[in-house]
């Protein structure tokens, strides 16, 4: 049984947590998840590839007006040059398209646009995609250089926080092209 002293202590702790956050517990948790998600998206380097880079007076940097919107739909990529070994991968100047032994991959639109981004997705869709390395957890494989082998080790809580943040960022309508197989493999599989 709780003593009066312990009851008072618990009540004080609860009251202090309310006062500190200035909001009810559910809202505080959501706010925490948002901040955690923003932090993880930043340090995990999501902008490195999912935000198109542009040339600025200070050098190339992510174009935050198109934050996390993936490979620009209007930027149609020509066939990539074949690099001389041991070079293996060719990257677009935007750092949103990559050609390598797997074919050509284009980074996805992670903004909450309902038609071209993650606007209709659920946290389960997002978690299963990262966890399995398959689109929506059951479709085609996610291609390199997306670091699925590393990111699949995120905890469920971290992935939920990342998804919460991604659902809060500005919508950008941008339909990313489908990936392409290497030409030889594509013709062999048809």
């Amino acid at each position: 049984m709780y003593s009066l002293k312990m009851f008072v202590r618990i009540a004080l702790v609860v009251a202090a947590s309310f006062a500190r956050a200035g909001e009810p517990p559910a809202a505080a948790a959501a706010s925490e998840a948002l901040a955690r998600g923003k932090y993880l998206v930043t340090v995990a380097g999501c902008n490195d590839c999912h935000t198109p880079w542009k040339l600025t007076p200070e050098g190339r940097k992510p174009d935050m007006d198109r934050m996390l919107s993936g490979h620009p739909e209007a930027l149609v990529m020509p066939v990539a040059p074949t690099p001389e070994q041991p070079w293996q991968m060719t990257a677009a100047a935007t750092n949103t398209a990559f050609s390598g032994p797997w074919g050509v991959s284009f980074t996805a639109n992670l903004t909450p646009d309902r038609e071209t981004g993650l606007g209709k997705w659920t946290v389960r869709n997002f978690t299963e995609t990262i966890r399995t390395g398959r689109h929506l957890g059951r479709g085609r494989e996610i291609l390199p250089p997306m670091p699925i082998p590393m990111y699949k080790n995120f905890t469920d809580e971290d992935l939920a926080a990342i998804f919460t943040y991604l659902q809060s960022i500005p919508v950008v309508k941008n339909r990313v092209p489908e990936p392409r197989l290497p030409a030889a493999l594509a013709s062999a599989r048809r």
Binding site: E115, T122, R124, R134, L136, R138, E141, E178, R190
Partner: protein
Amino acid sequence: MLRTALHGLLLLSGVAGAAGVPELPAHLRDTGLYADAAMTQVRSEVLPFSPQYPLWSDGASKRRWIHVPEGTSIDATRPDAWEFPRGTKLWKEFSHGDRIETRYIERSVDGTWRYASYVWSADGRDAVLAPAVGVRDLPVPTAPGARYSIPAQDDCRACHEGAPVPVLGFSALQLSPDLQALVAGSTLKNLPAELLAHPPRIEAANPTERAALGYLHANCGHCHNDDGPLAVLEMSLAHRVGTKESAGAVLRSIVGVPGEFRIAGGTARVEPGQPEASVLALRMRSREPLQQMPPLGTSAVDLEAMSLIGRWIESLSVHQSK
């Protein structure tokens, strides 16, 4: 020879269970399917079954069995989400001439589902638990391309856990002709009387459409449905016996609907009268890994099904567009 070598490696490696979870049996003979050590006689308590719309598995011939613990029954109260008792076991055996693998699903005592595959030895005397990551390109001369892949347990989950219940081929629609026998044998209880009096069938415009929608239900509907994780795609190919006008809902989600995936020549998920412009047919006909449907469990196109789907799409008139 190679299968024999692989079999030896599997035996040596063993497969550990997760902490607190009993390990899956290392040998198929210990799962409760067979009455004899030689694995030639199936136990009498184990029930063979055959769904009316089978899953395409690159032409493999298949046999299926189910066992529910003695004194228990499958609860059919929810007609599209039967509740299987804890301890339920299902097996599906795949053969290309010889037996290649037997897949196994078990509902554990804690209510969770487990998936496994057992790989048969070349001499057919043993079948050993495959590693959780599966086995790619097992040499099987009689299989298409002389190669056969054992699915990873994650692959099992990808398909089986996209549906209301993980058991896909043992349902009211799939076993429509057998419902009365299942109820009479007490394998099934609480089946709505309407379904017993009028076994469910797909309400289609004609037999070709019924066969096509049945094929799509069995091969695509476990992922493409309106109550699983892929509901976000707003494309349902699953037929629901507990829902009125279920076939109509399926058609409305595909016929004349543009969809998100772009493929050369494709203008809609199903373009009435034009299989060659229907993304659904184009992806079913493809085995490019980035385009093919289904994305898992097949490396050879089902040509008979493509003929069926083609005839069905050709029969659709433009006025059926959404």
